[in-house]
């Protein structure tokens, strides 16, 4: 008996009991459908996150004090002088802009309004490195910074929160931790599709922040920064820039040859990689949960195949009596089980695709779309066929092992 004939025979057996076959397949359909939907959504989340980060720029990296990997013997700081050294083109030719930042939460008040807001002390380079534009007024200038001017640039949502009925709040005064600051500009909106609302900020000159709002000092009394944004001259020179900056900082911090860095450089691609890892694990995890329902579907197949073998005991006996070998019977029942599961799998792929498109449709305004991958389809197809094989083998073996005379006598 060749393969085609085996398939025909199995089709005939499956269509004699259409409702039963359909119900048996339902388990697989739901299982595969869930796997496909979840994997597509997982892929979608991954590409969504990647797109979010890539929008920031691929030639940017941050420096933060401390180390994530190593235990340090001394408290770690990055100072404003460190930032100045990095910005020196003679020492770091691959670096384009350096934006030292001190950041924290502060209470911001206007008459009648009071709220905790992220206050960021910045230099003009910050607008360049992070690509900020103002919609009204202007950004923090070098003069503002040098003179420690008490001026503030508001994020778009901060402006509308504190000045709901003033389309142009420039010239108004806000109080940051009690000190009055004059509003000199409002930032353009970044768009709402980011993780944290970047539009809810107050930016003030770095030196003002260091002297008045966040007077942090190192052990030697120097002003200490939260983070330094460094922009390389090009994406290709990112690695070179990181190397130059690391060398400068190691020298300045007098770090011995065998000692670890007391700062960490994080690039966009590092972050994207980390997020992709996280979402990748999540996707696999969700897929595995969905896989459990596939397993349940497989048990359904096994159950029905066992019933079918019992019901058709006489048929098996007869086939053996006229010359069917063990493997002929084995193949016959295995083919039926695998066909049940692969048909179920095919229907499940369609269901999963429908589910993924439905989710994309509901989230279309957020710019999210599920990614229906060939891998997911291949995996689901293989997996459902494997489920059929795995759960079909036991009933098929039971059928094949029947003794012809006992089987023929079975009532």
């Amino acid at each position: 008996m060749n393969l085609l004939e085996g398939v025909r025979l199995a089709l005939r057996a499956l269509t004699t009991n259409k409702l039963r076959s359909a119900l048996t397949m339902l388990g697989i359909i739901i299982g595969v459908g869930a796997v496909i939907t979840l994997m597509s959504v997982g892929e979608g989340v991954q590409s969504y996150i990647t797109a979010q980060f890539e929008a920031i720029g691929t030639n940017l990296f941050f420096l933060v004090p401390g180390s994530f990997q190593e235990e340090l013997r001394r408290p770690a700081f990055i100072t404003t002088r460190d930032a100045e050294a990095i910005a020196d083109p003679a020492q770091a030719p691959s670096v384009l802009h350096v934006a030292p930042v001190v950041q924290g939460s502060a209470s911001v008040t206007t008459p009648g309004r009071d709220r905790g807001v992220t206050v960021t002390g910045v230099t003009p380079e910050y607008a360049l490195a992070r690509d900020w534009q103002t919609q009204l007024g202007q950004f923090v200038t070098a003069t503002d910074n040098q003179s420690r001017a008490r001026v503030a640039v508001l994020g778009a949502s901060t402006a509308s929160y504190f000045f709901p009925d003033r389309p142009d709040p420039t010239g108004e005064v806000i109080r940051v931790n009690g000190s009055p600051f004059r509003v000199i500009g409002v930032l353009s909106e970044r768009g709402g599709s980011s993780f944290q609302n970047e539009d809810d900020v107050v930016m003030i000159p770095l030196n003002t922040a260091l002297s008045r709002v966040f007077p942090r000092r190192t052990t030697t009394g120097e002003p200490s920064l939260t983070i330094v944004y460094v922009q390389a001259v090009s994406e290709e020179r990112m690695d070179a820039a990181i190397e130059e900056v690391s060398l400068i900082l190691r020298q300045r911090h007098r770090i011995g040859l065998d000692e670890p860095d007391d700062f960490t450089a994080i690039s966009q691609s590092d972050i994207i990689g980390t997020f992709q890892q996280i979402t990748g694990v999540l996707t696999v995890f969700l897929g595995a949960i969905a896989g459990i329902s596939l397993l349940v579907g497989g048990i359904g197949i096994m159950n029905i195949m066992l019933v079918s073998v019992t019901e058709r005991t006489r048929e098996i006996g007869l086939r053996k009596a006229v010359g069917a070998r063990k493997r002929d019977i084995l193949w016959q029942f295995l083919t039926e089980a695998v066909m049940l599961s692969t048909f179920g799998g095919a229907a499940g792929i369609l269901l999963g695709a429908a589910g993924a498109s439905a989710i994309s449709y509901f989230l279309r305004d957020d710019g999210f779309s599920a990614v229906f991958t060939v891998e997911a389809v291949a995996l689901a197809t293989l997996f459902s066929a494997a489920v059929g094989l795995f759960f079909g083998i036991y009933p098929a073996q039971r059928a094949a092992a029947l003794n012809p005379i006992d089987a023929l006598r079975y009532e």
Partner: protein
């Protein structure tokens, strides 16, 4: 005892069925030879071991001990696949209860042994139609068992037993479920096949009249052969009935 014309040779065959604690000694040392081209009838009361012996002869079951040589080959040395091949091509088995696949046409039922013989589809169809014609069912190829009478169903079963051209037909009470007229028709077909093709036939019956269609009658009692007699002049079943149309004798 065995010679080149002996197609079936059994020596001291025993079969013990174990049912929990109980043992049923169904065959207690049966020795028997069947000659090529002979029609042999097995008789005996119910429970005497006739079916047990037939199942062993048909390679459907194995003796507890004893020797069985089929067409020169020792059956006890055959593995599973060889036994399947023997059932497929060396012997054709006809059951009392027909054992046709339900909801399956006569043609498909008859083709079944050829499926497992690996015959090509076209050849299967041709040969199945041919044997169905030989048993007088040329006009019933596409009928399913429930559309056929008992006699017709048994003729489909005979066609199935014949289709892979075995040298022996084993029939366990082939007329047991049939009225006497259909029974005679079936016997007439078997006799004609024997006459025309020289096929060896071993059949079980407990009807003494049916046994007279055979050339030799062996009586079993309690798992042993108690009597063997040759029928001097076997009756020709065809003479005892007006055959239905289409059956050429």
């Amino acid at each position: 005892m065995a010679n080149s014309n002996t197609v079936i040779w059994v020596q001291d065959l025993h079969k013990i069925y174990k049912m929990g604690e109980n043992e049923v000694h169904a065959l207690r040392g049966v020795s028997l030879g069947v000659q090529r081209g002979e029609i042999l009838a097995l008789m005996g009361p119910s429970g005497s071991g006739k079916s047990t012996l037939m199942n062993i002869l048909g390679c459907l079951d194995q003796p507890t001990w004893g020797t069985y040589v089929l067409g020169g080959r020792d059956v006890s040395r055959m593995d599973d696949d060889e036994l399947a091949m023997a059932r497929n091509g060396l012997v054709g088995f006809v059951f009392q209860s027909f054992n046709l696949l339900p909801r399956t046409t006569a043609l498909d039922n008859v083709m079944l042994p050829l499926v497992y013989a690996g015959t090509t589809g076209r050849e299967r169809r041709r040969r199945a139609a041919e044997v169905l014609e030989a048993v007088g069912l040329a006009d019933r190829l596409h009928h399913t068992p429930n559309e056929l009478s008992g006699g017709q169903q048994q003729r489909v079963a005979i066609a199935r037993a014949l289709v892979n051209q075995p040298s022996i037909i084993l029939a366990d009470e082939p007329t047991g479920n049939l009225d006497s007229k259909s029974g005679r028709e079936v016997m007439a077909i078997l006799q004609r096949l024997n006459r025309e093709t020289g096929i060896t036939i071993v059949l079980v019956t407990h009807d003494p009249r049916i046994s007279h269609y055979a050339q030799r009658v062996i009586s079993l009692f309690d798992g042993k052969i108690i009597k063997a007699e040759a029928i001097a002049e076997p009756i020709d079943a065809a003479n005892e009935l007006t055959l239905p149309e289409g059956v050429a004798v």
